[in-house]
Amino acid sequence: MGEKRAQTHVASTRWRSALDEGQQSGVEAVPGPNSRPSLAVREAGSVVADGLVVVVKRSCPTCQLVVPVLDELARGSEPLAVYSQDDTTFVAGAIDDTDLEVSFDLDIDTVPTLLRVEAGKVSARTVGWLRPEWEELTGVRPLGATLPEWRPGCGSRTQDPEVQDARLVVAMTPRLRARRVELGKAEDEIEAMYARGWSDGLPLVPPTAERVARMLAGTTREPGDVVAVVPPDLVECTVEKVAINAVMAGCRPDYLPVVLTAVEAACTDEFNIHGVLATTWFAGPLVIVNGPIARAIGMNSGVNALGQGNRANATIGRALQLVVRNVGGGRPGEVDRATLGQPGKYTFCFAEDEAGSPWEPLHVERGLTRETSAVTLFAAEGVRGVVDQLARTPEELARSFAACLRTVAHPKNVIVWDAVLVVSPEHARVFREGGWSKARLREELGTLLQIPGAEIVRGAGGIAEGMPEGFREFTLPKFRDGGLQIVHAGGGAGLFSAIIGGWASGAVGSEPVTQEVMT
């Protein structure tokens, strides 16, 4: 998704205003092929004089083919300017455009391009070599009589990925406001980042200005926009700071919108990342991704969806945790007081398998459309497996789920803990064949998880832990209303599902938060 947008983006306003801003702020622009400041004020088409204009490059056979035509036009009455993107020597009188400024300004995507410029504006253009069009545009007939009738052009150098990248970096670098940390000559980058306390324990990708600039191409948001106020230090966190941490986490630029949304959602009062961080419980932020973006960025919702091996899954969750650590100042042993923690606190992110699901996806259940991309944040402990290889009816399987769900946190604790039930394809098939909707499953689980107070009060069953004595006469639900999320993910083989336990639920602790991903 990012590529086309990044191109238009950089080729237009951002690139130009970048140059302007760089000068105003006194930040020295990195010298580069496109750093001529005068360009910032030019309107498209006004960069060249009126008359005929042709943009060529030597490495294009069609451009070489039309050299006699260019000579012919040069001898004519109308002014002609030929710009070459690579080598000016192959056409007499060609003007050097190896820095591509004219090509970008004229929005050239193919060479050769023939244009007519009138009163500073492009009034006509044709690409490649097509005699009738060249004749019509120039008014010269016959033109190139010895040439074939038609030859396609070649891609303009402005379309080269490395050119796009260089422009992007040049444009963005002066806009980055983060403090520059210059390492010593003998310093190892990875060790230096460990020494500065930036790491979660695993090596980080060094956040150079170039990498951060490329990362920022993944969003249309301005680097200086504030994304959220991040606990525990309650610091305003900019898009740029998120991008820096996303680079360190190993994200690709097209993941950035998901990371930004995850940071926003985590820092809402409802999700309460402060509490999730500070608690002695196992909780960490789980990011569930729904909608088209999950597939677009190559997330895993299938085999080993909750495990290792997929870059997007692995780095999005990690980037969120690095933002909490580095921007928010939340570190284990400081504000993070977890007794044991859990490995998902390095990173915990997966996509729902929507295509293979018998049910509506999580974000649709939570009020968004199927076509919307969204993240849902959940205060998660670790993953526990649920096995049932024998159930062939939804009734039987629901009973297995209920029995296992009852153990979340403690079999004698009710209401205060939420959970996510991740139903695998083979288990989902049982519900599909039985005609159970997700609402039906939730309702049946609700019924199965009504627990008599006498079983769960303190001391019952010889277990001190439990609910206060006052609950003895009541029947209580294991989960509060809205406390059980159900999603579909996993590989095609295995009659296993997963339960991901939560933390103090609702307004007391953390509410699951679903937020639309904005680019």
Binding site: A178, V181, P206, I244, G275, L322, N326, V508
Partner: protein, 93 residues
């Protein structure tokens, strides 16, 4: 090799260091705030502390946070700071 320049991923804050308020030599004549962070049984602990303090003739003010999972709201912190000389906080479970 050119030295690498990295962008700082942190908040770049430069926290100011503040001195702790001096500990009072005695609680005589002091107002003692008792803050329950709203964990289970914190009230049991604070009820007993209140009993012991009032027996000694001290003035006690009771407070509680809306939930133990979030920082105390600014208004509550301000009220405690303006009314009390010392505060005892109950972390419990």
């Amino acid at each position: 090799m050119t030295p690498t320049t990295l962008l700082d991923p942190t908040s770049e804050r430069d926290p100011t260091t503040r001195e702790r308020t001096a500990r009072p030599a005695s609680l005589e004549g002091k107002v003692v705030g008792l803050l329950n962070i709203s964990k289970p049984r914190g009230d049991v602990f604070l009820d007993r502390i209140e009993e012991l303090l009032t027996q000694r003739g001290m003035q006690v003010e009771r407070y509680s946070k809306p939930t133990f999972t979030k920082p105390a709201p600014a208004d509550l912190r301000h009220e405690i700071a303006s009314k009390c000389d010392v505060v005892i906080e109950a972390l419990a479970d």
